[in-house]
């Protein structure tokens, strides 16, 4: 390999590090002050690109000068900053004190809303941006041609870092931000109005995301998928750098930029995996990231109220369970559509139940539970389509694949807690997604695989429904039994105080690891059943949106309820199945519903049921 080639490779790594840093710095500042991990940060980035591809060409009509180009970019950043203000005032302000799981979900609701609004405003077609006047040429470095705009980007990152440093150290606003990053309650007790500080922070954070997006327009067309692809990378940068640390984000962006630039030469297919492996390695050695520090106990978000005291079903509960079971068995008396929806609900109920086994019972907020669902589906599907095995062994393999991958990822996950844990589960889910997506020869890539059909005896819709019912009900009864057993109680003890549980001799890590593995196995089983019910598998089975669906189900069902997640899955899926075909804007609808749920319904359906009964009694 040529010298000059390596140099150019390093330079392009620096350019992408710069872009990544600009975005991630905003995310980390917002997290530092508000303690909210803002999924919508990727939406701000996307909005920055869309505003810029609209505004900049219009400005360049007047005069094709570099100044107008950059003025357009900066104005786009400011416009996006104002969107950030809007989000803070209308939503974030109401959820600073709610558990972090709900915050993540609410900001994901904003992601869905923005996706639909962007489609409405700009349409589904990618919009290419103008190239920057004065920076359209290439520069020769040794004998390699390197785009001038990329060279310019290399300097943007350090410039933004320097400006942020000045802001943070030379202005009162910046000093307050740094103080609030450490202890926002104390800042309030000294007379600082946090609302103003938070609004200002969101403006800054969103504007940085918007700047990042606007600067991309000469390189990539504005497209409606930009938000989720960038948010995972930005998460990884902030987690590796240490959440809340701007210099840490810079360092992490540099590392990732170089890793990607050179990783692509060695392992062209698995650059994404490399990035996530780096993250896992850093978190194992430094659980708070490179330059982060342990969260102060003060002002820390609390876990949602989980399952407290599981009791045997009372008479009303038994009746309800019996009616539900009868309903499941009687579904084939109705039409085929009801059977299809019923089968799906059963599968999703098992997946949701296994997630709440982690979240409600174990306090382990997994943001990537779909990974184990999807890996179970792929495990079963690949055995059938590639190895030619029949359904039965494939269905046995599904929980093994789900459990084994949960054991592998869980080994790292259970070392962390709180928001870092959630981020790591998300990262692992994205690794799994990336592998499935990129390994086209085996998995079929984006298209997935078809021909995952059940054995002949279970081929009819009704027979498969009964098979699914038998398997899922048995698995749910088993998991419920585990929740009631001493193992479940130990997990609850570790959830409520890991330290105290440790002190009385509980091996907290081991219990959590086993719990994580068990939940992964159950999700894998659900995934396997799902694959045969559809006849096909594709990467969306591992995607963030499905993980969020699962979380919405348990939230809807009530995290503190043992059986509520089943009702949550049924309600969520029935509503989604009913509304999705009726409207083109189901994302908008779903996003608004998630936000409404977080704001008005934080204890879920089971909570509403309990308080209704409490009132009646």
């Amino acid at each position: 390999m040529e010298w000059s080639f390596l140099l150019v490779q390093a330079l392009s790594g620096l350019a992408s590090a710069s872009s990544l840093f600009v975005i991630a710095s905003g995310l980390t500042i917002v997290f530092g002050v508000t303690r909210i991990v803002n999924f919508a940060h990727g939406s701000f980035y996307m909005l920055g690109a869309y505003v810029a591809v609209t505004l900049v060409p219009w400005l360049l009509e007047f005069d094709r000068s570099p100044w107008l180009f950059f003025a357009g970019v900066l104005v786009s950043a400011v416009v996006v900053g104002l969107f950030g203000v809007l989000m803070e005032v209308t939503l974030l302000r109401r959820i600073y004190r709610v558990p972090e799981l709900f915050q993540l979900l609410a900001t994901f609701g904003v992601v869905l809303i923005v996706q639909d609004l962007v489609l409405l405003a700009w349409g589904p077609v990618d919009i290419p941006g103008p190239r920057a006047p004065g920076l359209r040429h290439g520069v020769y470095i040794l004998d390699q041609r390197f785009p001038a705009y990329e060279l310019f980007l290399i300097f943007v990152g350090p410039a933004v870092l320097a400006l942020l440093w000045l802001l943070m150290h030379r202005t009162r606003f910046g000093v307050l931000i740094r103080a609030a990053t450490q202890d926002r309650e104390m800042v309030g007790a000294l007379g600082v109005n946090q609302a103003m500080l938070f609004t200002g922070t969101l403006f800054l954070g969103a504007a940085l995301a918007g700047l990042g997006g606007a600067l991309q327009i000469p390189r990539v067309s504005a497209n409606p998928q930009m938000d989720l692809s960038v948010i995972t990378e930005a998460f990884v940068v902030t987690v590796i750098g240490g959440m809340g640390s701007v210099p840490g984000a810079f360092l992490a962006a540099l590392l990732i930029g170089q890793l990607q630039a050179f990783g692509v030469l060695v392992f062209p297919k698995i650059t994404l995996v490399l990035v996530f492996l780096l993250m896992a390695a850093v978190l194992v050695v430094k659980p708070w990231g490179l330059l982060g520090r342990p969260e102060a106990a003060a002002g820390r978000a609390v876990l949602p109220e989980g399952i407290l005291d599981p009791r045997p079903l009372d008479l009303a509960g038994k009746l309800l369970a019996a009616v539900a079971l009868l309903g499941v068995l009687a579904l084939p008396l109705l039409d085929a559509y009801a059977v299809k929806v019923g089968t799906e609900v059963l599968v999703l109920a098992l997946a949701a139940f296994s997630l709440n086994f982690l979240v409600g019972n174990g306090g382990i907020v997994s943001f990537g539970h779909a990974a184990y669902f999807g890996l179970g589906a792929y495990g079963a599907g690949l055995l059938v389509t590639r190895a030619g095995l029949p359904m039965e062994p494939a269905l046995v393999a599904a929980p093994i694949v789900g459990g084994a991958s949960a054991a592998l990822f869980g080994f790292f996950v259970v070392r962390l807690s709180g928001i870092y844990l959630a981020m790591l589960t998300l990262a692992f889910a994205q690794i799994a997604y990336a592998v499935v997506f990129q390994w086209v020869e085996v998995t079929g890539g984006d298209n997935g695989l078809v021909g995952v059909w059940p054995s002949a005896w279970a081929a009819s819709r009704e027979a498969y429904h009964y098979l699914t019912a038998a398997v899922t009900v048995a698995a749910i009864v088993f998991l419920r039994r585990v929740i009631h057993a001493p193992f479940g109680a130990t997990l609850r003890a570790a959830r409520d105080s890991a330290q105290r549980a440790d002190a009385i001799g509980v091996d907290v890590r081991m219990h959590r690891w086993l719990g994580f593995t068990l939940a992964g196995a159950a999700a894998g089983l659900a995934g396997g059943l799902y694959a045969f019910s559809k006849g096909s598998i594709d990467p969306t089975l591992l995607g963030i949106p499905l993980s969020v669906d699962f979380l919405s189900m348990i939230l809807l069902g009530g995290i503190q309820s043992v059986l509520g997640s089943i009702a949550g899955a049924a309600a969520f899926h029935a509503v989604k199945d009913f509304f999705m075909p009726l409207t083109d804007h189901w994302r908008l609808f779903l996003g608004l519903s998630i936000i409404a749920m977080v704001l008005i319904f934080p204890r879920g359906l089971a909570g509403a049921w309990a308080s209704l009964r409490g009132r009646a009694a």
Partner: protein, 237 residues
């Protein structure tokens, strides 16, 4: 007695299912130093947090400078002129001494000379020498000085001081006592929670003894120092 600067009546507060304060009654006169005493767990820190709004009161009334402040946000209470120095100091360790003071800065009420870093550095000469040092790199006593200085930057009329002598070397405790007396000389009322009778005796005019979440005894500090029965009943372990 003239209109008190702080008047607390029937204050109730707690954490989750645990009730800690059961109707605390107390007042603080302008320019007075009062010691809030009591055993561990009696509710001293909780009382101060509930007054400051850091722990929302569950009942009762807190009047400060003529306004009802129970249930208000801490920043509003601070802006009315009530300073707060927490037990665990909670200085901003990543910030320099000067920056810590900047976070506490608020405009002074009209007609009063505002506290400035320069004036505070005269007040606490130790801090002057390390104004650009990261607060996390200071000793515990220096950090305690900084929290007091930081609260003074808000130009308070009264300050809630939570266990200032805890865990400090005797020579530092003496400096703390001096600081409280100088605050008093500046006309600032101080409600100091304290377990150390020597410290309370050195700074306070009056003592209030909390036990099981309500005030069980109050009187002059001299009486408390003289009366061993009261001390045995409420303070000694």
């Amino acid at each position: 007695m003239a209109d008190p600067v702080l008047q607390v009546a029937g204050l109730r507060a707690g954490y989750g299912p645990a009730e800690v304060l059961f109707g605390v009654e107390l007042h603080l006169a302008r320019g007075e130093v009062a010691a809030l005493m009591g055993r561990n767990g009696a509710g001293k820190s909780t009382t101060l947090k509930a007054i400051m709004g850091l722990l929302p009161p569950r009942g009762g009334s807190v009047r400060f400078a003529g306004q009802e402040i129970a249930g208000q946000a801490p920043y509003r209470i601070a802006r009315l002129g009530l300073g707060y120095v927490p037990e665990d100091r909670r200085i901003f360790t990543d910030l320099t001494v000067t920056e810590n003071l900047e976070v506490g800065r608020r405009a002074a009420p009209p007609g009063r000379a505002p506290w400035t870093p320069e004036r505070l550095f005269e007040f606490f000469p130790n801090l002057a020498e390390m104004r650009h040092r990261r607060a996390g790199a200071m000793s515990g006593g220096e950090q305690q000085m900084l929290t007091i200085a930081r609260s003074l930057m808000g130009n308070p009329e009264a300050v809630l001081l939570d266990e200032p002598s805890e865990g400090l070397a005797p020579v530092i405790v003496e400096q703390m006592a001096e600081a409280v007396l100088r605050m008093k000389a500046e006309g600032i009322a101080v409600l100091v929670s304290e377990q150390n009778l020597d410290f309370a005796g050195a700074v306070a005019d009056r003592a209030l003894i909390l036990e099981k979440g309500s005030v069980r005894w109050q009187g002059s500090i001299a009486t408390l120092e003289a009366d061993e029965d009261v001390r045995r009943a409420h303070l000694t372990v």
